[in-house]
Amino acid sequence: MVDWVKGRAGIGALACFLAAGMAAIPPAMARDVTDMAGTTQSVPDHPARIADLWFAHNELVLMLGGAGQVVMTVDRPQARPWMYTVFPALFQARAVNGPQVNAEALLQDRVDLVFVPDATATITAFRGVGVPTLVASFRDVDGLLRVVDMTATALGTPQAHDTATRYRQMMMQTVNDVRDRLAHVTAAARPRVLHVQSLHPLRVDGADSIVDEWITLAGGRNAATGVSGNMKPVSIEQVAAWDPDVIILGPDSGQPDAGMQATWQHLRAVRAGHVHQNPSGVFTWDRYGSELPLQIRWAAKTLHPELFTDLDPVGMTRDFYRTWFHYDLSTAQAQQILAAQPPQPLPQAPSGTHP
């Protein structure tokens, strides 16, 4: 009998808790936004509590002025120290491990807008509890620009709309400028570039990836022929078979181990000293983030330095951060980003915040 009474009381408390959570969701869903999967969702006029559950998308929300609204994120200060240095407001957000968040946790945190990658199985559950959920994945430059527009529409602020418009113009200008400078470069003069995401295990980026797109835009040819997609495992023998002219090492690629050293040293790019470290800032430049214009220009200068003598990578990086992130990087900080080094000192969470 006592157990029965306790059970009833527990169910009652749970119901009150859920009701309180539901009541906290703003009732005004005034605007319709169509996400990248083509689904139209009604979102609040001014989303105040955002859960961003795709690593790459957080940077876009931050750039569009939404740092203060993010209350749940999959990015962590240990993995993205520059993100937390440039946007310390992110420390107020709860860090979760991947997009598989319990829908009730969204209610508990009074989340009123969620961004997810397309592979998330929990979209139905999120929408089922009444939280507007937008798929924000993209795979190329065009997709990036469309996600920026969608995110600005979802945020609904004049600042977000203005930033998205200017960002589109800047991206197109960057692409056109680089294209113009490389227009006369023949196919044979375009180096074969291998982008190594990880050395141990050995993984590279093939066709149909954003890496392939920026290699092409920057005047190179992806050496990883026969491979499609991101971060594909290959053997060192396959790398020797490709024998690329240039190797670009991803920010967290590590070092070649003793077993592959001998073959590695025989590669044309290694012998010629054409192995470069990819920069990494608020997000890794080589992947799906808003720093893609920086990546295109950096890669173009790396592959064709004689055509981009006027391009100063440090100045370019500082300008970008000032314009789009409203953060004044020092010269030393810009150099650290270009060398894929973390900030010094590492960002620390203010007392009373989640991490």
């Binding site: 993995a79 491990n97 141990h200 295990p201 050995l202 990883a224 495992p233 060192i236």
Partner: protein, 335 residues
């Protein structure tokens, strides 16, 4: 030893040698077979692209070939030994939890960012700990019961599988989780000349020791009481063989990740060829297992530019081989 056993042994050894030579000649980088053979016979030769051939051959191909031979042989012998000890043809080296334990250890190493050496070490340790847990459970309840040993293994496997799932759940989904998944699929890409040097000695020693126990394992097949009347130390033999086979299996998993089916299927093929006598089954299993995994790895590294996990190919081919030998096995059971 019968003429048939000698013939099978000779054919298997010759076949393995031929397959090793063929494997050295195939790969993603087209190296002329003549140059490869020349580099094998005269490793010090220089000029005419010999350096590149030497680098690829000794830096990439031969360590993998050696790794495939060692891992295939070790898994097959471990499987044959487990089947003999448990008197059950459906048993594989994973019975007492060594695979789940090694997988958990490797995942822990990846989550803790311990680097390749740390992952390999923790994987090996995890395999041993998991079997230790299974055997410990059996010891607590009934040290002499084989059924209790199986139950102990089941519990240990379940426990370490759950821990592995937990580690996958807490792993960083962007970097660590893909590494765990790739490792669990099984691959020989990480076999370096140094790792092969460490692996080869214990594997050869383990295979020789277990093969030397073949006659006693035959006695064990008649039942515990009959074995004791023949003077066989049943419990000591059982735990000794389990220990040796476990170390072999844990070594392979720590170097190459999860590779299934080899330890289950290959001993059956060996029994079809040389009969049930374990003195012959164990070494012939080693030879066939080495050939099987070497063929699988040849496919894994040549079929596409992307590296296909060898565990995946071994699983697929293992099913095909098992289906092919199943009618022959049924005939054997009826007889």
């Amino acid at each position: 030893m019968s003429l048939r056993a000698l013939l099978v042994g000779g054919l298997c050894s010759g076949g393995l040698l031929v397959l090793v030579l063929v494997s050295a000649c195939v790969g993603r980088l087209a190296l002329p077979a003549g140059q490869v053979l020349q580099a094998l016979l005269a490793p010090q030769a220089t000029g005419g692209g010999a350096e590149m051939v030497h680098t690829i051959l000794f830096g990439a191909r031969l360590p993998r070939i050696g790794g495939a031979v060692c891992v295939g042989a070790a898994l097959s012998v471990a499987g044959a030994a487990y089947q003999a000890v448990f008197r059950n043809p459906l048993v594989s080296p994973g019975l007492l939890g060594v695979l789940a334990g090694a997988g958990t250890g490797a995942a822990l190493g990846i989550v803790w960012n311990l680097g390749h050496g740390g992952v390999v070490g923790l994987s090996f340790l995890g395999g041993l700990v998991a079997v230790g847990v299974g055997v410990g459970i059996a010891q607590v309840f009934d040290a002499t019961s084989m059924m209790m040993l199986v139950f102990g293994g089941l519990i240990s496997s379940a426990l370490f599988t759950a821990l592995l799932s937990l580690l996958k759940y807490v792993a960083d989904p962007q970097n660590q989780l893909p590494d765990i998944v790739f490792w669990l699929l099984g691959s020989l890409t990480q076999v370096t000349p140094g790792a092969l040097g460490v692996l080869a000695g214990p594997v050869v020693a383990g295979i020789v020791l277990l093969s030397a126990c073949g006659r006693m394992l035959d006695g064990l097949a008649m039942g515990d009481e009959e074995a004791r009347t023949l003077g066989i130390p049943v419990v000591a033999l059982r735990y000794g063989v389990i220990g040796g086979a476990t170390v072999l299996a844990a070594l392979t998993v720590s170097v190459a990740g999860m590779i299934g089916w080899v330890g289950l299927v290959v001993p059956h093929v060996a029994r079809l060829l040389v009969g049930p006598c374990n003195m012959r089954v164990l070494p012939v299993s080693a030879c066939i297992g080495a050939m099987f995994l070497l063929a699988c790895d040849d496919l894994a590294r040549t079929l596409s530019a992307e590296e296909i996990p060898v565990g995946l190919i071994a699983d697929l081919l293992g099913v095909v081989v098992f289906m092919a030998v199943l009618p022959l096995l049924r005939r054997g059971w009826r007889a």
